[in-house]
């Protein structure tokens, strides 16, 4: 007799308990009793015959106005056909039939619409045009929702928002004044540029909703116009220019700007960088409050903790010993999780710690999923703020001393040679808490990266040495931000802020070449918009307002670099790609400086200009010995001269953010990254969708290779096409995934481009099966290449889920390969693509 039998015996008495109660709470029990009478019968005895046979012909749906009518196939086909105009590969009947097959008797037309959208979306992997169909069906669904609330135009949408108290007066008045022109400028067809994923994201999270009914009160085009009006500086011409740029998906401001532009709480900035709390209880608790206030309005937080004393340090007030950083960070972790960014997304923060802090080892364990949970922070991201001295000692296999900041408070505010001297002096003075092998700590840092993706490697000295803001002593960068692309000075009085926006490079290719003239125009509009945000912005804390007025930094970035390479048929790691990417960065930097200088001439330089390197005529690429400029030196020299004369409106201009969500909206690959796979799913709060490399599909269609077999093969190989012999080698080279590219190429790209990036870039690195030897080589190379910051280390799971939807022979779950086997499987499939035992 096995253990469960006894339970079954005891329980036989209670079988009569109504099942339906388990599934419903009291408030909905009445409604559900009519909706599913069969459920309550379950307890009656006839346990298994519960649902009436499925017969679509007799089914009825409930319309939005409450009336019921029978399901009409022709009507659904007509609706789908209307949206499928120009989509020649789409079969409307197929979508309609599948939709009807999934409906149940008594469903609402709303459910019917939702189902047809999902049905179309699910076919995207087979034919990308179904994704566009899904997007159009969704667009008309949104239109119905908006117009169903008596909102027929853009100006009505804004007026309604103002009545409801979610739109601010500035926007309301501007729109009221220019209503006709703005309404005329709305281009409903522009919504067709969205892919399904992008539009879904916009609908689920970005469109303004009625505070009680939760229905959206703006269409996607009203949304873009709202952002343009709010950030257009009150000029109609600039507003319409900006709207055109947005609706063409050529440039997208950061999420906080999209969420909040023109609203009652206009917090438009993406990133906040907070200096470390001072080494006191009061300061630590004040910092929690700052973090919570900033998180509330959709900002990502970077926070240093390097000034706080380490474990075992004496506390004079109580004559006890400190428990170190971990308990404080545990509290921070809970605080960050508690603050939900207006229900839009969870708060997020990254804690930076200098490599000499005596709690560094405990810090590196904060994200482990084993060990004492009281010493784990599952919500915090972690980053290492690494001095060059550490990397040098790693290279020389030297010792590394760890200090309690209470005994060496000066180290936090020093960098470069001053830091090196002070650090060695502290060692000589015997102040170290402990001394360990530098390589041991380095290996530990890398292990944390490999096991958690966290513990980002950022290089303190390089960040300070190349920054426009650090010309004077006392102006020190103490950390980067949540995504490691922002580098700005902080102090106890200054909280750094940055406003971001990204140019979609995918939409700057014309007739088989990159269009630098279009890029220049985009940069000009984007930069003026970003600069305006500084004045418009609502600052949740005073130290942020103070810093932003002094420095006026902005972060203009890019996305869709991979799209450019696909469009131009360049392999990611080719010399041409690297040169083009650097050239694009140079042009953006040039035109951004030019625009900021023009703004300074008109409105005045930012108040901190005299403290910057630019005031001395130094620009970013002066710090990069290997920089290769493509714009003539004479142009650069003329620009330098103008900057010396007029100054700059903004101390910092360029930062390449990860663009995770806005790249989805724009339908392009993220920031500067290679593709992760030719076929992958995206998980977001709005559900999971299949994303497919549409460039590859086009190429394969041209070659007559877009077949069920090829699709299955791509799926089986997790989105790789390297093992598919039928695909020409040249295409296979272009369509490699990031797992198949040498990471050296990513670092070389970043270094070549870095000469024109005055802040930094969110540089992810990828290793399928990381090991310490490879990682230590990779990060040492990155440091030597002059990379300022790196971001996640991405790896892949060691075992995989069984594939459920593939053809027969491949359905078996392969035994999870160990690291060497996985590598040999790749090699094998490259050499022997037809048949490979290791891959089955």
């Amino acid at each position: 007799m096995h253990p469960l039998d006894s339970r079954a015996d005891d329980g036989a008495v209670t079988v009569s308990t109504s099942d339906s109660e388990i599934t419903m709470n009291a408030s909905t029990a009445v409604a559900s009793a009519t909706a599913c009478p069969s459920v309550s019968e379950a307890s009656g005895g006839d346990a298994f015959a519960l649902t009436a046979p499925h017969s679509p012909t007799q089914m009825r749906v409930t319309k939005r106005n409450g009336r019921s009518e029978s399901v009409d196939l022709a009507k659904i086909v007509r609706a789908v056909t209307r949206s499928a105009e120009d989509l020649h590969a789409v079969d409307p009947m197929r979508v309609a039939l599948k939709t009807i097959g999934g409906i149940y008797d008594g469903a609402s037309t709303r459910e019917l619409d939702e189902l047809s959208i999902r049905t179309a979306a699910a076919l995207t992997a087979e034919e990308p045009e179904y994704g566009f169909l899904a997007a159009r069906l969704l667009a008309s669904y949104i239109d119905k929702e908006v117009s169903g609330q008596e909102i027929q135009s853009y100006s009505q949408s804004v007026a309604r928002g103002a009545e409801l108290g979610i739109i601010n007066e500035r926007l309301r008045d501007f729109v009221a004044l220019n209503a006709r022109k703005l309404n005329d400028a709305i281009d409903p067809l522009a919504t067709r540029r969205f892919e399904y994923f992008g539009l879904r994201t916009v609908y689920d999270r970005y469109l303004l909703r009625h505070p009680e009914q939760r229905k959206v009160i703006e269409t996607p085009q009203y949304f873009f116009m709202r952002v343009a009006c709010a950030l257009g500086g009150g000029h109609l011409g600039e507003t319409l220019e900006l709207y055109r740029l947005l609706s063409a998906l050529e440039y997208v401001p950061s999420s906080p700007s999209l969420f909040n532009a023109g609203t009652a709480h206009e917090q438009l900035s993406s990133c906040f960088l907070l200096d470390s709390p001072l080494d006191s209880l009061e300061s630590i608790y004040d910092k929690y409050a700052d973090v919570a206030k900033l998180s509330k309005y959709a900002g990502g937080i970077g926070l240093s903790y390097s000034r706080v004393r380490s474990r075992g340090s004496l506390i004079r007030g109580t004559n006890g010993h400190s428990n170190g950083l971990v308990p404080w960070l545990k509290t921070l972790d809970a605080s960050v999780a508690a603050v939900n960014q207006g229900g839009k997304r969870k708060g997020a923060a990254c804690v930076y710690l200098e490599t000499w802090h005596a709690d560094i080892e405990e810090f590196l364990e904060l994200r482990d999923n084993t060990g004492d949970d009281a010493r784990r922070t599952h919500n915090l991201n972690l980053a290492n703020w690494i001095p060059d001295e550490f990397m040098r000692r790693v290279e020389a296999d030297g010792e590394w001393s760890l200090f309690d900041p209470k005994r060496v408070p000066q180290l936090v505010d020093l960098w470069g040679a001053d830091f090196d001297t002070a650090y060695r002096q502290a060692e000589a003075d015997g102040l170290a808490a402990r001394t360990i092998k530098a390589r041991e700590l380095y290996a530990r840092m890398l292990r944390t990266l490999a096991q958690t993706g966290n513990g980002w490697m950022t290089f303190k000295d390089r960040c300070n040495a190349t920054s426009n803001q650090t010309a004077r002593p006392g102006n020190v960068i103490h950390l980067s931000n949540l995504c490691t692309e922002i580098l700005e000075v902080t102090s106890d009085q200054e909280t750094a802020v940055c406003n971001l926006g990204s140019i979609n490079l995918a939409r700057h290719v014309r007739d088989g070449a990159f269009d630098f003239a279009q890029l220049a125009a985009t940069v000009a509009i984007a930069l003026r918009q970003l600069d305006r945000v500084i004045d418009l912005n609502f600052y949740p804390i005073d130290t942020a307002a103070a810093a932003n007025r002094k420095w006026r930094p902005v972060g203009l970035g890019v996305m869709g670099l991979q799209d450019v390479f696909f469009q131009l048929r360049l392999a990611f790691d080719s010399a041409e790609s690297q040169a083009l990417s650097a050239q694009i960065a140079e042009h953006i930097y040039f035109h951004a400086l030019e625009q900021s200088c023009a703004l300074a001439a008109a409105l005045g330089a930012h108040p901190g200009f005299a403290e910057t390197r630019a005031a001395r005529g130094e620009l970013q690429f002066d710090h990069w010995p290997n920089a290769r400029a493509s714009i003539a030196v004479a142009h650069w020299d003329a620009l330098r001269a103008r900057i010396r004369d007029s100054g700059l409106r903004n101390s910092l201009l360029i930062a390449i953010a990860p663009t995770a969500t806005i790249a989805s909206i724009a339908g392009c690959y993220e920031c500067i990254e290679p593709q992760v796979s030719n076929l992958f799913k995206r998980e977001t709060l709005s559900g999971d969708f299949l994303v497919i490399n549409r460039y590859l599909v086009e190429e394969l269609k041209t070659l007559g290779l877009w077949t069920a077999e090829v699709r299955d093969a791509i799926k089986q190989a997790e989105g790789s096409i390297q093992g598919i012999a039928a695909i020409p080698e040249r295409l296979r080279e272009i369509y490699r995934t990031v797992w198949e590219l040498p990471q050296k190429a990513l670092i070389d790209h970043a270094a070549a481009r870095g000469a024109f990036i005055d802040q930094s870039q969110s540089l992810n690195l990828f290793q399928e099966n990381p090991n310490i030897g490879r990682l230590s080589s990779m990060y040492m190379y990155a440091w030597k290449a002059g990379i300022k910051t790196t971001y996640y280390l991405r790896s892949r799971p060691a075992t995989r889920i069984a594939k459920t939807t593939l053809g027969i022979a491949v359905a078996g779950t392969p035994a999870a390969p160990s690291a060497p086997e996985a590598t040999s499987a790749v090699v094998c499939s490259l050499e022997n693509p037809e048949y490979c035992e290791a891959c089955q």
Binding site: R7, L112, T799, T804, I808
Partner: protein, 342 residues
Amino acid sequence: MSAQPPFKKQHLLDPGFELTLRPMRYPQFYEMYRAAIRNTWTVEEVDFAPDVNDLKSKMSPAERHLVHRLIAFFATGDSIVSNNLVLNLYTHINAPEARMYLSRQLYEEALHVQFYLTLLDTYLPDPEERNRAFAAIENIPSIRRKAEFCFRWIDSVQDLKRLETRAQRRQFLLNLICFACCIEGLFFFAAFAYVYFLRSRGLLHGLASGTNWVFRDESGHMAFAFEAIRCVREEEPGLFDADMQGQVVEMLEEAIQCEIAFAEDVLGGGVAGISPRDMRQYLEYCADQRFAQLGMPRQYGASNPFDFMQLQDVQEVTNFFERRVSAYQVGVQGEVGFDEAF
């Protein structure tokens, strides 16, 4: 317990408790054990907060019914698998490296039970409701029927202390096939399909992300079982004869029947986008895959009706603002060096 002398050629189902690891007879099981360890996850990493909101405000009573039934099934299902593992598999699969894998599997099953326990506690705050759900086997006929199916197969080998005869080995093999093909390969696969269906609609991400990890583990368990079956057949080719194949076909058909009854219960309230009819087709499709894995002809010729299942076949890219990435590895090896290619 007595170790066999190592010089005698041994088979996987020979009775006893072999202790010798070198030379290793089945290194594949050891590799599976190591791979499983690299994929360690914990329930604490799963964020259930959005689920509670979904259940309260986004889902219809019929959908909530579906969810509660599912969780109730999972919570008991994994316990049943654990019991069979301890009572039967661990006893009879006689290779220390295979038992290492089974020990790891046992831990994973406990982890899954913990996951679903935490889910039920979170989803059902009312203690009365909670108790009823935990007593799923007694209270819910459609779950009871599945459980009885499992018990019958556990009981079928309960009296076997040692596998001495060919008939006994066949008896055991049928138990192994039942757990791999029917319980993990059909019952769990169907349950995962409901979860992925909900996720494809943007619902219950906590459940879905945990289920992702559970699914990954279960995929490993099935891979182990099929590999064990393959080894046994290789070692004793005549064992898997026509008679036995007939029994396997019957067994899978009965499992499908149980699962269909469950589908009619869980979908009883009417859920747009998924019907018992689709589920039957999906089960037949899965069953065909199991037959193929056993090297048998397909019985149903069904195709996959669930487009949303494609989603879980492809790799995930998670935006860290939104969800925890589940792809990192534990147990990274190696020494610091500066001249490796990367």
